[in-house]
């Protein structure tokens, strides 16, 4: 993610009904919009879910993306969040090789980055790390020399910044 300003977050509130995610992802596919990341979860109101996605505004016409989304009957609300106006976070779960030689060094790194150890054995450490997407990228780079065994990221979620 070279230029972070390219990536805008769109937060949609959708009806919590079967097939709604297919409608949204189908729309992106047939209109040729690329999704950078996607996160789906229920909201505090059980009638609605939230689909948060990140689109590359240099490759997709953002205004068309929003207007086409708005035409979906099950999409109730759309918030477009430019990077400077929102607080965004993404979660990463990662298992890293940690033999006796490198274990101490790895633990220091985990401490420095304020990641959390979730489980460990003699060969590996599993941890979670939550931050802005760019920070996840950086942390991943720091872990890479140790040997990443498995890694999963959630895609970003965001809320509007406070005044």
């Amino acid at each position: 993610m070279s230029n972070p300003d390219r990536f805008h977050t769109i937060v949609t509130t959708v009806e919590n009904k079967p097939g709604v995610l297919a409608r949204v992802s189908g729309l992106f596919a047939r209109r040729g919009f690329n999704i950078e990341s996607l996160a789906v979860a229920p909201t505090d109101d059980e009638r609605f879910s939230r689909i948060t996605f990140t689109v590359d505004v240099e490759s997709a016409p953002l205004e068309q993306v929003v207007k086409q989304l708005d035409k979906l009957i099950n999409v109730v609300e759309i918030q477009e969040l430019p990077p400077e106006d929102c607080v965004s976070r993404e979660l990463m779960l990662v298992t890293v090789a940690a033999d006796a030689h490198h274990r101490r060094e790895l633990m220091e790194l985990i401490d420095d980055w304020r990641a959390y150890v979730l489980a460990e054995n003699t060969e590996r450490i599993m941890m979670s790390f939550s931050a802005r997407t760019a920070r996840l990228d950086e942390f991943e780079e720091c872990l890479r020399p140790f040997g990443i065994v498995e890694l999963q990221r959630t895609g970003r979620v965001a809320l509007p910044a406070l005044d």
Binding site: P18, G19, G26, Q64, K67, I73, E77
Partner: protein, 585 residues
């Protein structure tokens, strides 16, 4: 029907359709929808039994185009559902309000690859404005109300309602429900709020931009017809004295015989309509969507024009061409507000002097009319001549439907459309075979009007079986079959752009025998080969009103549609008829 009455989902479905004002539906029963067909026997709704589900869909479209009311289709699951995909997509691209009810396997069997199961809502998601899978009998009345509401409001379009068999089958306890008259509140559509009134400030700005434009053109699309705005448009055009082009979807929205009417623009538009847009300094687009068949190569389209774009669908504003003023709203309401805004700034008297523009335009009209050469004795008929004779031997309120191809373009070019809702065709999807079922639907909706389907021989062979429907159901449409023995438009492209290498475009000169085929389907069949036979054959067809008539006109396959903007070229590179080439514009 009183509320709280216990009934079965199938009865409730038919009742809900009656309550929605449905008078007629087009369909074909089968396994999964069987329980709904039983209460239809006792219903006030007329059911037209089609021969193929695609026909049902196009009939519903023809009905909706002609009447302005939503067309209704009912078919079973699986292959029936896939057969209606084409008309659904056609209705989606041309914004035609239809409601399609499909049967589905019982709810518990969904996802098991049951007999005649397909993922109907999944398949039709991309070709409907919205679709529903109803899972409980109790939801039927509110879902039907929502389906009609969505199909007919905002930008109209097709809505599909998929009904699992168990919730309509009286032998299944899951079909038990308590009837209620569904209200708007029952629909539960928190994400659907179509905007109808335009922003007053933008409308004022548009009025001022129009007032000072030197070379404006009203670029009118199908949205004018959908919003019932033809009268308002006439009032606006006459007030500001601005010429009007009507797209393929809007033919008849402004009278062709009006002095301000320039006719159809686009790939096969007439020279004046195309060139007026190209040289315009302001395009006022009303319910049109800058389709590629209108704009030609986009970067060369109307290069000096500012754009005012009015559309009920905000996603159309700026989708293709950057707009200077984009107004979301219902075309009729926006035009009415625009007229009021024009009055406030001085009305007709305050308009800038556009005499030079009008005289330029009439110069083009004089120099570049539509032309063709009449056939020599012994040659096959000219299709343009057939259309002229059809036009001159039928009342002005005749409804004309067409298929897709050369005959469609000749019909649009040579018919004189003076009334809205007299021209019905497949514009966006370009669905061959549209004309016959669409004509049947139009005739059902407007039984007192004469309905002519203008068809080609390629198209005819795709949906001709619906003439059996028309015969049996007593729907006396007339078909003008322009038989040139070719897939004519493809032939034209191969002649012009593939060095006359004709690949798979020749059908047959002998087979089928269209007269015998028509007679076998219960129609009167007439074959016409010479120019002097054309008018008498049309007169004979017009005298027959107790069954459908097919008049086969044997037309010249060498004839090409002109003018033409070659694909990928700018509208300034319009190719006119060979006899006009070299004239100065």
């Amino acid at each position: 029907m009183s509320n709280n009455q216990q009934m079965c989902g199938g009865e409730a479905l038919v009742k809900a359709l009656e309550r929605a004002g449905v008078e007629v539906m087009f369909g074909l029963p089968g396994g999964a929808i069987l329980p709904v067909y039983d209460p239809i026997i006792d219903s006030s709704i007329r059911h037209i039994l089609v021969r193929h589900e695609q026909g049902a869909g196009h009939m519903a479209e023809g009905y909706a185009h002609a009447t302005g009311r939503p067309g209704v289709v009912m078919v079973t699951s699986g292959p029936a559902a896939t057969n209606v995909v084409t008309p659904l997509c056609d209705a989606f691209l041309d914004s035609v309000p239809i409601v399609c009810i499909t049967g589905q396997v019982p709810y518990a069997a969904i996802g098991t690859d049951a007999f005649q199961e397909c993922d109907t809502t999944g398949i039709t998601m991309a070709v409907t404005k919205h679709n529903f899978l109803v899972t409980e009998a109790q939801d039927i009345p509110r879902t039907i109300r929502a389906a009609f509401h969505i199909a007919t409001t905002g930008r109209p379009g097709p809505v599909l309602v998929d009904i699992p068999k168990d919730i309509v089958d009286p032998v299944n306890p899951r079909s038990a429900m308590t009837w209620y008259e569904a209200t708007d509140a029952d629909m539960d559509l928190p994400g659907y709020h179509p905007v109808t009134h335009g922003d007053p400030e933008l409308i004022r700005a548009a009025a001022e931009m129009i007032r000072t434009a030197q070379r404006p053109v009203l670029y009118v699309g199908g949205g004018i017809l959908k919003s019932r705005a033809a009268e308002a448009l006439l009032q606006l055009a006459e007030m500001v004295q601005i010429p009007v082009v009507t797209t393929l979807m809007a033919r008849g929205a402004f009278p062709d015989s009006h002095e301000l009417c320039l006719g159809m623009p686009g790939m096969h538009g007439n020279f004046t309509a195309v060139t007026a847009m190209q040289r315009s300094d302001l395009l006022i687009s009303l319910g049109a969507r800058f389709d590629d068949r209108v704009t030609g190569r986009l970067d060369g389209f109307a290069p000096g024009a500012k754009i005012i774009h009015v559309d009920v669908d905000p996603a159309e504003l700026g989708k293709v061409r950057r707009v200077d003023i984009g107004i979301q709203g219902d075309c009729r309401l926006v035009i009415e507000d625009l007229i009021a805004a024009m009055r406030e700034i001085g009305g007709a008297e305050a308009q800038v002097d556009r005499r030079a523009w009008r005289s330029t335009i009439s110069g083009w009209q004089e120099k570049f009319p539509l032309v063709y050469e009449q056939s020599e004795p012994g040659e096959r008929l000219k299709p343009q001549y057939v259309l002229e004779e059809l036009r001159d031997n039928n009342p002005a309120d005749t409804i004309v439907t067409s298929g897709v191809g050369q005959h469609q373009m000749y019909a649009s070019q040579y018919w004189k459309f003076d009334y809205p809702y007299t021209w019905i065709n497949s514009g966006g999807l370009g669905t061959m075979g549209f004309s016959i079922p669409a004509a049947i639907g139009a005739k059902v909706g407007k039984p007192d009007r004469r309905v002519w389907a203008v068809d080609g021989d390629g198209c005819f062979q795709m949906t001709a079986q619906e003439l059996v429907t028309a015969s049996v159901e007593d729907i006396p449409i007339k078909v003008a079959l322009l038989n040139n023995s070719y897939l004519g438009m493809v032939r034209q492209w191969q002649e012009m752009f593939y060095e006359e290498r004709f690949s798979e475009v020749y059908l047959s000169e002998e087979t089928p025998d269209y007269v015998k085929w028509s007679e076998a389907m219960g129609c009167v069949g007439i074959r016409v080969e010479a120019p002097e036979e054309v008018a008498p054959a049309i007169a004979k067809a017009n005298e027959i009103n107790d069954r459908p008539v097919v008049v086969e006109f044997r037309t010249d396959p060498r004839e090409n549609v002109f003018p033409m903007v070659p694909a990928g070229k700018s509208n300034s590179e319009l190719v006119v008829d060979p006899s006009q080439q070299g004239l100065e514009s």
